[in-house]
Symmetry: C2
DNA sequence: TAAATAAATGAAAATGGTTTTCATTAACAG
DNA sequence: CTGTTAATGAAAACCATTTTCATTTATTTA
């Protein structure tokens, strides 16, 4: 049975129209993949997932689409130090909790956490203010990440 | 005129000996370059600088030496998002102030800052403790970085 | 001090994620 | 439906970094 909103176009259509971008099969497929996972997918991950449904979509298009989505602010591009970029939906129609990441340096697992975010934000705000003033540096962004060994890797192997 | 300590081997010799590593011309040259700059040099920067004095030292050796130095904890390897790793001496014989970085997303300039570090460290400590407990994650490292536009880039160009 | 040995090195090739090129296809305004 | 132009796919290019392998060199041993 169809949900109540299935007759309306996906929420991101407006964003595309507003920017003059075309809504293509590839772009819809890629956004669909990203909106159906909580993982941090690499370009290749996304390519493989998209490929199952649309085998004619190439890796190049995946990269180009991801760049576009990052530039539009629809997704985040992360570097967890494993030599490949990872992507994550920035927000859904309902919005999404701001979070930071715990990265396991052994298996590469990434854990999102929202705890302590308030304190972090507070500190960041103060630091940003101080640094902006002292160095006359206009801060637009920050990166906080913790590295270590996850539960699983501490136990077996 | 020679300084008082020029007759003693450089302070890192002990570290090498202790680990069973050999003290070679290339390693000394690379460490010398790194200890004479406050900049965040890329492997190629270092290769070029070393090349002036010792044209026979190859880029491969620079990469290998940098890996070794990182592993020994003598230098830090940073990723400021410009597609190449950057290296910085971790500490001198007198030690070095712990600092974080402000990265200009326009020109790539990196500013070290030590201000607010105490508060940051305090927050990090608390956060690490909380996260370790909640996720049973053994945190070994963290990354804090601010991005924005530097003074020069705000003005001209 | 000279020979032995194992680590370190240089040059060239390989790797691998990402970007560019260019001819073709498809979205969508009219 | 048709023309315009953005979007695309395939292949090649890119570029920082790593690997291979034969040679050199720092250090050990005799």
């Amino acid at each position: 049975m169809r949900g109540r909103f299935d007759f309306y176009p996906p929420w991101w259509h407006g964003r595309f129209k507003g920017c003059g971008y075309r809504i293509t099969v590839a772009r819809q497929a890629i956004l669909e993949i990203l909106s159906k996972t909580t993982e941090h997918l690499s370009a290749e991950d996304i390519f493989l997932a998209v490929h199952k449904k649309c085998p004619n979509i190439g890796l190049t298009t995946v990269y180009r689409t991801l760049d576009l989505l990052v530039q539009m602010g629809l997704i985040y591009k992360h570097d967890f130090g494993d030599g490949r970029a990872r992507y994550e939906l920035a927000e859904g129609p309902k919005g999404k909790l701001h979070h930071h990441h715990l990265v396991c340096t052994k298996c590469g697992r990434v854990i999102d956490y929202t705890d302590f975010i308030d304190q972090e934000i507070e500190l960041l705000k103060q630091t940003e203010k101080g640094l902006s003033k002292k160095f006359n540096f206009k801060i637009t962004n920050h990166l906080i990440q913790f590295y270590g060994i996850c539960e699983q890797c501490q136990k077996g192997n």
